[in-house]
Structure formats: C-alpha cells, structure tokens
C-alpha cells in the first residue's frame, strides 16, 4: 500500500543543507496501525509530509497504492490526497467559521461529490464519532477532544486508503487522549490503515508496529507487544 525506498529529503538554504530524511525505506501494508516515533527534529514530520503528499521527496521512490508519486503534478497530488489519504492534525485544523457539517464537507466538495451523497456520508461520519446532534455547532463550541473527533470524522468521511495522524493527542489531556486513541483503535479494527506520528511511547505501544526514526533514518521497526498476533512486515532500513 505504501512503499518508500531510499527516500531522501534535503532542505537547502544559502548556508545550510539539511538531510531531513536519508535513504529512508519503509513499507506499510493495508490494515496496519503504525506509529512513527523519534526525538524532535529526527524527520517524523518530514516523513508524514512526504507520505501524505504534502511535500515532494528529493530522491528515492515512493509508491502509494502502486502509483509512483514522484512523477505526479501538483494537481494530481492534490487529487490523490483527496481520494486516498485522511489527515488528522495535532491542532485539529478545523475551519473555525464553518460548522461541523461544513467542516466535514470540505474534502467531499473537492471530490466533486453530489450533495445528497455528501450529506449521507457526513451524517454517518458524525454519528460514528458521536457528534451528530452538534452538527450545526462551530468548533469553538466544542471541547478539544470533541474537535479532534470531528477531525477524525473529516479524515474518515472520504473512505481513505489510510489515515495519517500527526500527534493527534498532542493537544489533549490524558483522559481525552485515551478516548481518541480508543477511537483510532476501533477505526483500525474496522480495517482502516493508520500511520501515526507521536512522541508518546505509551501511545506508540498501543499500535501494531512502531517505527523509530533517528537523524532521518529508521533506527528500529518493531512489532509492539500489544499486537502479538500480527505478522512482521518487510522493512527497508
């Protein structure tokens, strides 16, 4: 589903050249729940940006659902993001001036879906996160945990190939964070692949596999003890 081989990402300024990812290779299969951990500046967010087609890679190969994304135009990458990837951000990234219904509607509109189908999907997504009754509310009327559940509903509403979560519990208290993690676990149990960047080892231990990054390279890729029955995945490292 997601294959990166020898991916490099170099940021250049006039004075400095930074290798954010260096010969980074990773394969993630359908149905996995993979956490990406590592210290600050190790390349977690760069990996997430490249995996989510938010940034281009400098060298190497990235196959997303067998499509070589390095050859795609900006337009094609936008369309691929819309159809294949669901994003969950640390700060939720909801539109403050839009109500919950319109927030979840955003990716579906970019897909050009008919209004009736959009409404059906949005209602279903809001039901799944327990916020259907508040669909006319704006994000500021919700708690942090509720806002993140809306963001999860928005990520799920388009039936993506996988979810990319960037520190999804980073702005939440521990109780709420556990609630969000439980929700993500349930979503994964229902068959959705999840790739989650986090610095929280406790949360990482709740996933099926943890990939640890150090200096732009994978330092370890281990199955976590929670998922004893899971099959090990091939890793390029």
């Amino acid at each position: 589903m997601l294959q990166m081989k020898d991916v490099c990402k170099v940021f250049r300024t006039e004075l400095v050249e930074t290798h954010a990812l260096n010969e980074f290779s990773l394969t993630i299969d359908e149905g996995e729940f993979v956490t990406i951990t590592g210290p600050s500046g190790c390349g977690k967010t760069t990996f997430l940006n490249i995996a989510g087609l938010l940034e281009t890679l400098s060298t190497g190969q990235y196959l997303l659902d067998d499509i070589d994304v390095s050859t795609l135009s900006d337009y094609q990458r936008a369309k691929l993001r819309n159809q294949k990837i669901g994003f969950i951000f640390q700060s939720f990234n909801l539109m403050p001036d839009l109500n919950l219904f319109d927030n979840i509607d955003v990716p579906l509109r970019y897909r050009g879906m008919k209004a009736a189908e959009r409404k059906e999907r949005i209602d279903e997504a809001l039901e799944s996160v327990g916020l259907f009754a508040r669909k006319k509310h704006v994000p500021s009327q919700l708690s942090g945990g509720q806002q993140q559940r809306v963001a999860i509903a928005r990520a799920l509403v388009g039936n993506p190939l996988f979810l990319l979560a960037d520190e999804p519990t980073g702005n939440l208290d521990s109780n709420t964070a556990h609630g969000v993690m439980d929700l993500l676990q349930k979503i994964n149990d229902d068959g959705t692949t999840i790739i989650m960047v986090t610095h929280d080892q406790d949360l990482a231990s709740q996933s099926k596999r943890n990939v640890h990054i150090l200096d732009g390279r994978i330092s370890s890729s281990d199955l976590t003890t929670v998922n004893e029955n899971a099959e090990p995945r091939a890793v390029f490292a």
Binding site: N49, L53, A78, N82, Q83, N93, D102
Partner: protein, 404 residues
C-alpha cells in the same frame, strides 16, 4: 461551488465583509452618478455651434479721435479682410456664438404681449454671415446686400427680414417643415413685425448653459459706431497664421483705432466651458480615487483574510484542494461581497439619481448606467482580489502540519 459554506462563514465573521460591502455600495453610487454627470456635461460641450469653429476667429476694432469714421472703417476693413489670401469670408457682428456675451429678445407670433413668448438670441450681421459662419441654409435665401441696414448709433431698425435657426422654427411652428415657415411673420423687440426669409440648420446663441441656446436668428443690420467686431473664417490650416497677419494688417491700416480681443472660436469655446471641463476633471479625480481606495480595501481585506487563514488554506490543500480551487474560493468570496455591495449600490444609485433629477432639474439617468456600473465594479473587485488569491493558491499544503 462552495457558495453555502462561504456565505455561512462570512455571516459568522461579518464585520470586514460588511465594511467592504458598504464601501462598494457607496463607491458605486458616487461613481455611477458622477459618470452620468460627466457624460451629460460632455454631451453639452460636444454640441456643435453650427460654425466652422476650427477655422474661425474674431477680433474687435475700437476707434478713437475725431478723425475716426466708423462706417468707412468697417466697410474698408471688411473689404480688406475678404481680399486677404486664405480668408474665406468675413462679417461684422454684434455677438459671437458660445462666447457668453450677446443679446436676446422675446419672440411672439402675434402682436399681443399676453401671447406666449420665446426668447432667442440675435446676431446683427451683413449678407456675408452665412458664408463666414459656414451655416447650412436648409430653407429660403440668404440676405442680399441691399437687405442690410448700416445704422449709425441708435438709428431705428428698418429691416424686416430674418433668418432663423431650425430649432427656433420648430419651437414656433412645431408641425412644419423648414420651407413651411418661410414668409411667416414674427414679432420681436416688442411689436416689430419681421418676416422669415430663411432657416439655417443650426446656430447656437452666445450662452451655452442656457436651455434656449439653440434658439437664434440673424438680422441684416449693423449698428456702426466707434467699435466693431469682425468674425473671420479662413481656409483649413490658415487660422493661426492669419490671426497674426490680420491683426497686424488692421493695426497698420488705421492709426486711430486699436485691435483687441483677438481670439479663435476654439479658445472661446474652451473658456465658456471651462467650469464644465473643470467639474469633469474633478469628478474623474473623485472616481479614480474612490475606485482606487475601494480596490485597495478589497485587496486589504483579501490579504488580511488570507494571512489570517493561511493554515486553513494549507489544510484545505492537504484535504485535496487544487491551486485552482483555492483561487476560486477567494474569487467567489469576493464575488459574493461585491454582488451584495453592487446590489445595495444599485438601490442607492437610483435613489441618488432621483434626488439629483428632482432637485437640480437634471435629465433622468439612462437605465443602462446601473447594470453597467454593477458589472464594472464586480470586475474591478475580481481584478483586485486576483493577486492575493493567486498568492493564496500558491500556499504549500505542508503548512497544515506546521505549528504556526
């Protein structure tokens, strides 16, 4: 299209949009009415006087001393002028069209002071006036030399022939063709009965701002005293040269007079319409300033809105928006603000126009001003917001994951 969500978001965050909407409405009201006023002024200024203005000039001769003989001088001067190479013709006159200075009189069809009276300007000229002024005689005949009365001082007028403008003929005899008014009698200067012998297509009076500027007539007589005004038409391109030459020639021909007020008809027109012209310039300055300020307001609101929502734009890009869709989002947002603004502006424009019409006796504004103004302001808004929107469209989706 995201009209629904954009509108709902705008309602939740309405202060900026309301201010720009009001600015657009106010701008449209002022701009459309100002353009209408300018067009009205331009139409007035563009009205032909009936004369060959580009090739015509005039000057005044003022005699002094006991040796000065007005009648002889005028006849000699006219003879010299007509024989000057490059001069088409010359006449003596009591007034100059569009100059702002002249004479008029009440005109009636019956000798009854209670009867309806029109006021018409009159030019006291000789038989060369039609050729000098380059007037188009559409009916009747020109004055003959023997029709012209050369009067000394306050000698009574004995001539009874008149050539009138077609507009005056239409006013007096609404249902008649120009030929149909020939031979009719008009009473002017009280009870003086005069006969219409000719009709010219157009001849404006001396007062351009007067509503009866098109009502005028020629009388075949000239009061010759110490001063006289000569109107001279030249061949095309000869005017400026001849203005200097003629002045010099007349000065040299008689040492008992001075020449003054040498001026072309174009200069006269420019002077007479100077206030209208200045008003148009001021109104254009107001229009340009208002449009500039409004455009800057739209740009400012767009830039502020885009900067405020930079992370939202990145998020939209991350969720699958193409650059074109981001561009369209902000263009549609502006289109909606502009549409509300110009709709409100249209109501204000029409209301303001009604006030102008009723208060200042202005003509009614043509229907197309308002829709054209609406379209123009919407286009200006779209052009103004294009730059900021293009900048927004270049936002990288990776901004969505940054802590900004």
């Amino acid at each position: 299209m995201e009209i629904g969500p954009i509108l709902r978001a705008m309602i939740r965050n309405k202060l900026g949009a309301v201010l720009i909407t009001l600015q657009i409405a106010f701008t449209m009201t002022v701009v459309i009415n100002a353009i209408f006023i300018i067009n009205e002024r331009s139409n007035l200024m563009a009205r032909p006087s009936g004369l060959d203005e580009a090739n015509t000039f005039y000057l005044s001769s003022v005699g002094y001393g006991d040796e000065f003989n007005g009648v002889v001088t005028v006849r000699d001067d006219l003879e010299r002028l007509r024989q000057t190479p490059g001069v088409v013709d010359a006449t003596v006159t009591n007034a100059i069209p569009v100059s702002g200075s002249g004479s008029n009189t009440g005109v009636r069809l019956v000798d009854d002071e209670a009867a309806a009276t029109s006021f018409a300007a009159y030019y006291r000229v000789d038989e060369h006036a039609i050729e000098t002024m380059d007037l188009d005689l559409v009916a009747g005949r020109n004055f003959a030399a023997e029709d012209v009365q050369w009067r000394a001082g306050s000698e009574a007028i004995t001539t009874r022939e008149l050539i009138i403008s077609q507009q005056l003929a239409n006013n007096l005899f609404p249902d008649r063709e120009p030929n149909g008014v020939l031979g009719e009698t008009m009473f002017i200067n009280g009870s003086e009965a005069h006969q219409i012998i000719g009709v010219v297509e157009q001849l404006q009076g001396p007062w351009p701002s007067n509503s009866s500027v098109e009502l005028s007539m020629l009388q075949p007589n000239s009061s010759v005293g110490s001063s006289a005004t000569y109107l001279i038409r030249t061949e095309p391109g000869q005017r400026d040269r001849l203005m200097a030459e003629v002045e010099e020639m007349l000065v040299a021909s008689n040492s008992n007079r001075i020449i003054r007020d040498l001026m072309s008809l174009e200069q006269t027109r420019e002077g007479s319409y100077r206030i209208d012209s200045a008003m148009s310039t001021i109104l254009w300055a107001i229009i340009i300033t208002l449009i500039f300020i409004t455009s800057m307001g739209i740009v400012g609101m767009a830039v502020f809105g885009i900067n405020r929502r930079r992370k939202q734009i990145g998020t939209r890009r991350a969720l699958g928006a193409t650059r074109l869709e981001i561009l369209r989002h902000f263009m549609v947002e502006n289109l909606m603000v502009s549409t509300i603004g110009v709709t409100l502006g249209a109501i204000l424009t029409i209301a303001f126009s009604i006030v102008l019409t009723s208060s200042f006796n202005m003509p009614t504004m043509a229907w197309y001003y308002t829709p054209l103004g609406m379209i123009a302001l919407i286009l200006i808004g779209q052009v103004a917001v294009l730059g900021p929107s293009s900048g927004a469209a270049r936002t990288e989706p990776a901004i969505a994951t940054r802590s900004i």
